[in-house]
Structures are given as structure tokens and as C-alpha cells.
């Protein structure tokens, strides 16, 4: 019923690391919530179900907890219904997760021969005998990636995460998405192993695409939680890049490199859990104080909420993959495994992987831009609204939640070797050779890449040297006792005010303009001009809204199609409402004819003849003459 192997335990640890600080944060957040019992019930059910998913050993238990997880998280989104958008987001989320569930279910049915009580280990044989493994892979991907939020199944994330209460956003984005990643690990490594090369390439491309798309849409957001949610898409993409590389190496029998890439993916999974939870918690604290998710209404919060600002900064550095943070380390590992592609012998693949490198690097650059924007607009400058002006630091419990999460982030940074050793065990237990000794050949100081001319990084040395040099400089600065004076910001002779600052929209302006072809933004620009002069105006208002391309192309057309079909069916059903006898007559005719035709003897001529008769009789008896 349950399994506790290393992979499961690693993910149990991940969940616990994400949940424990969240418990504090959540209890600090509780007074803010009206329906406390409802919230608590679903909150704990949610946590329990996530734990249940990663330790379940057969499909029935897995699916049960999986669906329970969706159910409870859906209910949690609905904890604080303030407007229609929350309702819409919850609905959409639930549909998407159900969509994924359908494919997972199909997957399990096929690999379990319909027997849901089968252990995962027993599924391997059935899966290998199945004639279309590609189909299984497709089902698995659709099932887990719709939950993980990889492109193109990511559309629900930027709606659902902002709608949930902040502790829940942190859990959903930080932990729940990782449960889907667990599924990918578990079933690709346990059940569908070995893979053809194409699968790895597919995952790699999905990852590359997700990371770019995620960060691009994050940049264009000014809802802080939606921004973070879009970053989850990006990070899931990065994890998938690592995982895809692992698969590629594995299918080319480069086992050591493959293990390295898998460890990188797993490490990034942990890191993303830590810093994304922390970001959501800090953003939640800001939201808690300012009562708005709109970044344009923040500003200057660092003075009122120094701790929140500090934790956000730590997390922002980590998510931007700046050294020596843990985010940097895992991204470094993923980069290294991408660079190891020079070991490949397939020249076309070798030439294609630089594109993944490109997108990952681009993602890194854009992520920095995005977090400068998020941090700068939220915490720096002048407050842009009265709510921001009156913000205070949040209560003790919430603060302790954030501090604990910061500790998790820092621990991942400081104890990297320990974590990697542990992740290594996961793959050793799967029957692979240990690579820990190759990553840390000479103690915990230097971290090596496994490739032949791979790089090296020493996180602790970096950290210490950075701290020492900065401290020395600060010490020198203090020693000199430089005279300082406070004065207003110099604004070329004008006075600085909240309105003259750069806005979030403006900050992302250049990048948005550059990616205009992707965004196709919806711009609203109103200005009150004076005497028809284009350049002179009393007031101006500028707003940009961006509807993601995938949503436009994919989802809205699906909605349109469903509406169309349902309209047609509705009309048809109502049309023949009173001609029941005629309908029975026709269905009898149809069934008996088909029975005679298909089970006794088949001929095309008769088939066409039957079709004609059916059409005529439907026309005469059901539809009748036009009036």
C-alpha cells in the first residue's frame, strides 16, 4: 500500500521542509481568514494528501491521494472568495487538474492491466510489453505536466496561485508542483524505463520552452503573485531541462552523466521549493498589509517591513541564480549537464542542445530583470498608495514562518554536499552507480562537473570570500568615518514624488517592447491633451494587459468549440422533443440494420443503402417539412 524507498523519502523530506515553516506562517495568517474551520480542515487534508501521493505504492492509493490533493487545494483556493475572478480561477484550476487526472488514470489502467492494486514495481513488465510505449509516455506527460504547469498546460497557474490565500499559494507553488515532478521521476525511472532518445528530447524542449515562456510572462505581470506563479512555470521548465538531459544521456548509455543531470533536476526541485515558498510568503506578508496584489500600489515597503524585505531579497537572489545562492548551484549543475552534450556522438543533437543552453541563459537574464523589478517596485522607492504607507511588519508567527523558510534556503546553500549525497542515494537505490564521489572528489569545498572538461565551483569559498571582502570594505568605510548628510533625491530640479518613480509596467517596458510579437499587448492609453497638442497634457493614464498566447490560441478556441457543439446538441435535443415515437422508430431501425449488417455479413453497398434509408427516415419522420 505504501512505499518508503529513498525517492519517496526524499520527496517526503521536501514536503516536510516546505510544510513546517508554512505551518507557522499559516497559523499567523489564520486570524485573517473568516472560515477558519473550513480552512484548517482542507489545509491539513492537503498536506496529508501530498504526503500520501509520494509514499503510495499502488495506483489506487496514488490516484486517491492525487485527486484528494486536487480537491483540497481547489477548496482552499475558494477559502476567500472576494470576486468572480477567484471563482473562475478555482474552476479553471480544477478542470485542468482533472484533465491531468484523466490521463494519469489512463496511464495506470494501461500499465496495470486494469488492476489498480498492482505495485508500481510490477508495472514495469506490463509497460514494456505494451505495443505503444509512446502513448504511455504521452499520457504520463499530459497527466503530470498539467499539474506541474509546463507549457502548454501552464495556463491555470497564474490564475490559481494568486487566488489562493498566501500560505496556500506557497504550498501549491512550492510543494504541490513538486509532487508532479515526483510522479515524473517515479514513473519514468521505475515503470517506463528505458526510454527512446526522442522522449528525452521532448522533455528537454518542453522544459526550454516553459522556462522562457514562464519568465517572459512573469515580466509582463504586475500582480505580484501571478508574477511568482509565472516564475514557477519557468522553474519547472528548468527542472525539466535537467531531467530531459538526464533522459538523453541515459538513452545514449552515458549513465554517469545522466545521474548527474537527474541529481541537478532533483536539487533544483528542492531549491525551487525553498525559495518559491519564501517568495510567496513574503509576497503574502506584503499583500496582508497592503490588501492589494497590484505591484503598482506598493513601494517603499522595506522601511516598514525590513524582515519581509530581507527574506524576499534572499529568495530573489536565489531564484535569479546568482552566486553563491542555492539557486545558482542547481542551475550551475543543469548548465554543466547541458555542456556535457559535447560528449554526444549524434551531431544534430549536439547542435540542437545549444538552443536549450541559450534559452536557459536567457531565462536567467530575464529572471534577474524580473526580480529587480519585483523587489525594486515593491520594496524600494516611495510608497505608491496609502495602504503601502500604513503597512507594518506582520505578526510574529508569520515572521517566524518566513525566517524558518529562509533557514531552509540557507541550509540548501550551505549543506549542498549533504543534500547531493542524499540525492545520489536515490539513484543508487535505482541501481545506478554513485556519482557523489565524482562531484565532490576532494572534500566538500569544491563541486565538480562530471564531464571531461567540466567546470568546478566552490560555493563555500565564494560565500566566505564575498562576505569577507564586503565586511572589510564596510569596516574600512566605518573606519574612515565619512561624513553623511540626508537630502532629497535630486530630480533635475523637480521634486521627487511617488508618481515620478518608475512603475512596474514602465520597468518591463523595453523587454515588453522587444517581445511585442509574443505578447501582443492590449494597451490602454488615455490622455487629456491641452489644445490639441500631442505633447502637452494635463493627465495621462497608461495600462497594459497581456493575455497569454496559449490561452488565446488553445483554451479560448476550446471553449468556443465546446460552446458550439453544446449549442448544436441542445438545439437538436429540443428539436425532436415531442417526436419520441419517431425517434424510437429510427433508433430501432438503425440498431437492427447495423446488427444485421455488421454482425452477419458486411457489404459496402448495403452500408450505403442503410445510410440513405436512415437519412431519409430521419428527414421524414423526425425533422419533417420546413415551415
Amino acid at each position: 500500500m505504501f512505499v518508503f524507498d529513498t525517492l519517496s523519502l526524499v520527496f517526503v523530506a521536501l514536503i516536510l521542509l516546505g510544510v513546517l515553516p508554512n505551518l507557522f506562517y499559516s497559523s499567523g495568517y489564520l486570524p485573517h481568514i473568516e472560515r477558519k474551520g473550513y480552512y484548517q480542515l482542507h489545509y491539513f487534508a492537503f498536506i496529508a494528501s501530498m504526503l500520501g501521493v509520494v509514499v503510495s505504492a499502488n495506483a489506487l492509493v496514488f490516484l486517491f491521494f492525487w485527486e484528494l490533493m486536487s480537491l483540497s487545494s481547489w477548496q482552499l483556493i475558494l477559502t476567500e472568495v472576494e470576486d468572480k475572478s477567484t471563482i473562475k480561477a478555482a474552476r479553471f484550476y480544477f478542470l485542468m487538474t482533472h484533465f491531468g487526472f484523466v490521463f494519469l488514470m489512463l496511464f495506470f489502467f494501461i500499465v496495470g492491466n486494469g488492476n489498480l492494486g498492482l505495485d508500481f514495481s510490477a508495472m514495469h513488465l506490463i509497460a514494456s510489453e505494451f505495443a505503444y510505449p509512446g502513448l504511455l509516455f504521452l499520457f504520463l506527460l499530459l497527466g503530470f505536466l498539467s499539474k506541474a504547469g509546463a507549457v502548454p498546460l501552464h495556463v491555470w497557474l497564474p490564475y490559481a496561485h494568486p487566488a489562493a490565500p498566501s500560505p496556500i499559494s506557497a504550498l501549491m507553488s512550492g510543494v504541490m508542483l513538486k509532487v508532479a515532478i515526483y510522479g515524473i521521476f517515479r514513473f519514468l525511472l521505475d515503470v517506463l524505463y528505458p526510454w527512446p532518445l526522442e522522449w528525452g528530447i521532448l522533455i528537454l524542449s518542453i522544459g526550454a520552452l516553459s522556462s522562457l515562456i514562464g519568465v517572459l510572462y512573469a515580466l509582463s505581470e504586475h500582480d505580484i503573485k501571478a508574477l511568482l506563479a509565472n516564475h514557477s512555470i519557468e522553474n519547472i521548465g528548468i527542472i525539466l531541462i535537467g531531467f530531459g538531459m538526464g533522459m538523453i544521456f541515459d538513452s545514449l548509455h552515458l549513465e554517469v552523466l545522466s545521474t548527474f543531470a537527474f541529481i541537478a533536476a532533483l536539487f533544483h526541485t528542492f531549491n525551487h521549493m525553498s525559495f518559491k515558498s519564501l517568495l510567496f510568503m513574503s509576497a503574502g506578508a506584503v499583500l496582508h498589509q497592503t490588501h492589494t496584489k497590484n505591484m503598482e500600489k506598493y513601494g517603499g515597503l522595506i522601511k516598514a517591513m525590513p524582515l519581509t524585505a530581507f527574506t524576499f531579497l534572499i529568495a530573489a537572489i536565489s531564484i535569479s541564480a546568482l552566486p553563491p545562492s542555492n539557486g545558482f548551484l542547481s542551475e550551475w549543475m543543469i548548465f554543466q549537464s547541458l555542456l556535457d552534450s559535447s560528449h554526444l556522438t549524434i551531431i544534430s543533437l549536439k547542435l540542437a542542445i545549444p538552443f536549450a543552453i541559450f534559452s536557459l541563459a536567457m531565462t536567467g537574464g530575464l529572471a534577474i530583470a524580473c526580480f529587480v523589478k519585483a523587489y525594486g517596485i515593491t520594496f524600494l522607492g516611495l510608497h505608491r498608495s496609502t495602504n503601502a504607507k500604513h503597512a507594518k511588519e506582520v505578526n510574529f508567527l508569520m515572521k517566524s514562518g518566513m525566517i524558518l523558510m529562509t533557514a531552509v534556503v540557507l541550509s540548501l546553500m550551505l549543506f549542498t554536499p549533504f543534500y547531493i549525497q542524499w540525492f545520489d542515494k536515490v539513484f543508487v537505490s535505482l541501481g545506478r552507480a554513485s556519482v557523489y564521489a565524482k562531484i565532490f572528489p576532494d572534500g566538500i569545498w569544491n563541486m565538480h562537473s562530471i564531464g571531461i572538461n567540466g567546470g568546478m565551483v566552490s560555493p563555500l569559498v565564494l560565500l566566505i570570500s564575498l562576505i569577507v571582502i564586503t565586511a572589510l570594505m564596510l569596516f574600512a568605510y566605518k573606519l574612515f568615518g565619512v561624513k553623511t548628510r540626508l537630502h532629497k533625491t535630486w530630480a533635475c530640479g523637480y521634486t521627487t514624488s511617488a508618481k515620478t518613480q518608475y512603475s512596474a509596467t514602465g520597468f518591463a517596458g523595453p523587454i515588453r517592447r522587444f517581445f511585442d510579437w509574443l505578447y501582443k499587448p492590449n494597451e490602454h492609453f488615455h490622455k487629456q491633451t491641452i489644445a490639441e497638442h500631442n505633447t502637452k497634457f494635463t493627465s495621462a493614464h497608461y495600462e497594459v494587459h497581456i493575455q497569454p498566447l496559449f490561452e488565446r490560441v488553445f483554451y479560448q478556441s476550446m471553449v468556443k468549440l465546446t460552446n458550439l457543439i453544446s449549442y448544436w446538441v441542445y438545439r437538436l435535443a429540443h428539436f425532436g422533443q415531442t417526436r419520441y415515437a419517431a425517434m424510437i422508430f429510427n433508433i430501432m431501425l438503425l440498431v437492427l440494420f447495423s446488427y444485421r449488417l455488421f454482425t452477419h455479413e458486411f457489404s459496402w453497398a448495403l452500408f450505403i443503402f442503410e445510410l440513405l434509408i436512415m437519412m431519409t427516415s430521419t428527414k421524414i419522420l423526425i425533422i419533417g417539412d420546413k415551415k
Binding site: 415515437a581 422508430f585 430501432m588 437492427l592 444485421r596 452477419h600 421524414i620 419522420l621
Partner: protein, 197 residues
């Protein structure tokens, strides 16, 4: 003799399809039921089956006499219009009837190879089933629909008598009981107002 009665049965049903008067319809239904009853009687006497003779007698008493009278009473009581115009145009109906007959024979063709005697009877029963359905769907009034339903019941009996040489006695009686029940319910439904569907 059996074939002759079956022919008459089918003929009376087809004629009923084209009737435009309520009383005419009732008459043809009565004749239809009479043929059925006679068929059961003649088959029952030829194979010496008491149960079938009994059911033939009940059929004649109930379906050929009691029910038509009952319906006539009701129609007089509630002043139903005598004029019942089929919704399906006559030229379509003329086409449909032979098509149904051909189809049912086509349908029962494989059976002929399996059982030797009654395949044609079965085809006729199925086609009379379809014809009864046609009768139901071509009228919008309640009484013709009820008659259509009763004709459907007749075709069931035709199948029961011809294809299986009579069902178990208990079952036949049960079916009659249900028919009675149906009549009671119909009576209750008519209650006060005249309704059109």
C-alpha cells in the same frame, strides 16, 4: 388458414394506418384483434393447446370487444374530434410501409437458415411492430396513440403465438393483467380534461 389470418392481421393494421376517422380506427383495431384471436384459436386447436385457445378467447373478448367499446365511450364522453389527420403525408406513408416490409424480411433472412418454420411469421411480427410504431407517431391525438400502443401489444401477441407457439400460460395471463392495469391508468389520466400532447 394461419397464413390467411396473418395476412388479414397485417392488412387491417395497414388500413388502420391510413384511416382518418377515429371510429374507423377503432373498428380496424377491433378487426385486427379479432384476427389475432382467431389465429390463436385456430393454432391452438391444431396443436391442441388449451392455453392458447384460452388466450385467443380472452383476446377476442377483451381486445376485439371490450377495449374498442371502452375507448368509444371515452371519446364520446369527452367529445373527441372524429377527424384524425395523420401527420405523415400519405405519399411518404405509402413508401414507408413497403420499405418496412422489405427491411424486416431482410433482417430475418439469416434466421431462416437457423430455424426452419417460423422465420416469415417473425418478419411479419417485426414489421407489424414497426407499423404500430408508425401508427403512434403519425397521430398527435391521445386516443389514436393509445390505439397505436394497443396495436403494438397485438403484434407482440402475434409474435408470441406464431414464433413460439404460445408463451407459458402464467405469463400470458400476466400480460393481460398488465393490459387491464394500463386501461385503468388511461382512464385515470383522462380524468376530466381533454388533452392533446
Amino acid at each position: 388458414m394461419v397464413d390467411f389470418l396473418i395476412g388479414l392481421f397485417l392488412a387491417s393494421l395497414i388500413v388502420a394506418l391510413f384511416t382518418t376517422r377515429l371510429n374507423g380506427l377503432l373498428l380496424w383495431y377491433a378487426i385486427n384483434s379479432l384476427m389475432l384471436g382467431l389465429l390463436a384459436l385456430s393454432m391452438g386447436s391444431s396443436i391442441d393447446d388449451d392455453a392458447m385457445i384460452l388466450s385467443g378467447v380472452i383476446t377476442i373478448l377483451m381486445k376485439a370487444i371490450a377495449i374498442p367499446f371502452f375507448l368509444k365511450n371515452i371519446s364520446q364522453k369527452f367529445h373527441f374530434s372524429q377527424q384524425i389527420v395523420p401527420k405523415i403525408k400519405v405519399h411518404y406513408a405509402i413508401m414507408l410501409v413497403p420499405v418496412i416490409l422489405v427491411f424486416t424480411f431482410y433482417l430475418s433472412e439469416p434466421i431462416v437458415n437457423m430455424i426452419h418454420t417460423h422465420a416469415n411469421y417473425m418478419a411479419i411480427s417485426i414489421s407489424s411492430l414497426f407499423l404500430a410504431l408508425l401508427l403512434i407517431m403519425e397521430h398527435s391525438g391521445v386516443v389514436p396513440k393509445v390505439i397505436g400502443f394497443l396495436a403494438l401489444e397485438n403484434s407482440l401477441f402475434l409474435l408470441g403465438t406464431t414464433a413460439t407457439k404460445g408463451m407459458p400460460m402464467l405469463i400470458e395471463l400476466g400480460i393481460f393483467f398488465d393490459l387491464l392495469m394500463a386501461i385503468v391508468v388511461i382512464n385515470l389520466l383522462f380524468d376530466k380534461e381533454e388533452m392533446r400532447i
